[in-house]
Symmetry: C2
Subunit: 146 residues, 2 copies
DNA sequence: GCTGAAAGGCCCGGGCA
DNA sequence: TGCCCGGGCCTTTCAGC
């Protein structure tokens, strides 16, 4: 990928609603050239989509935690990720190497809701959990250095 | 927040570039009514911004890991988060309760680059690290259930 | 791949219910 | 709050190079 494309990706990562006209001004291309490049970046999957950044705090979910998860029955088929997907508090689910099987990132309203969520995680996926509470988040979702 | 606003937030979380006209069609309001509500959601910080979703894989960073970080000198001022911010491989930095001080989420090109990054993390922040490699990500960045 | 132009649609105020 | 309504801007497409 060459420099102009990377610049476009950077600009759209910072402001996903930037207009083609502004992108054109910022890159020194015409709007149609920019438009074509953005379309190609979308088709190649470099730009996977566009999203509004929703503030979990403002939406009543100020408590973030990481839950590491270990299956209680290693012989059972591992469909934990699928079963856990139905719990809306789970923002992310990563399968990992190491002592545990999955790391979940969750958002809840309060400590009591976390306790409740942990019970549901254990019940739904038949797992043991280890929870790390987030105290503050200096930064997250920084775009990759393109 | 009432149902129409939540619907707007859901729609924009799924497609951050949806036009006001389409939002209006989807919610049964006029475009200017939708426009006003979106502006209010932005002002209240419910919608913190808009971003293109950049695929780390497509951009040459297929390896994800979590790095737990513990200061070697607990007496030193804790500016680890600030110092670590200059490493572009770090996508997120969370201050956490528990044995360790921070959890970092990082993206690199290959195992060798992870080794190199770990050395830089230790050097920059004067910390001990514990790394968990991500094997696959069933899902991440799911919007909160608004 | 890029440019430029042209049509159609969208954005985004102001005014009023 | 929400709706209607313009003027201006943006998007999108299509030759032409």
């Amino acid at each position: 990928m060459e420099e102009t494309d990377r610049e476009i990706v950077r600009l759209l990562a910072a402001d996903g609603r930037m207009s083609y006209t502004d992108l054109a001004r910022a890159t020194g291309l015409s709007t149609s050239a920019v438009h074509q490049r953005v379309r190609r970046l979308e088709q190649r999957g470099v730009i996977a989509g566009y999203a509004a950044v929703v503030s979990a705090e403002q939406v009543g979910l100020p408590l973030t935690a990481f839950i590491s998860v270990t299956p209680l029955d290693p012989a059972a088929p591992d469909d934990a990720a699928t079963r856990l997907a139905e719990l809306p508090e789970i923002e992310a689910c990563h399968s990992v190497a190491g002592e545990e099987s999955y790391i979940l990132k969750v958002r809840v309203a309060a400590p009591g809701a976390l306790e409740d969520l942990l019970a549901r995680v254990r019940a739904v996926a038949n797992v043991r959990t280890r929870t790390t509470v987030v105290l503050s988040t200096p930064y997250e979702n920084r775009p990759p250095a393109v």
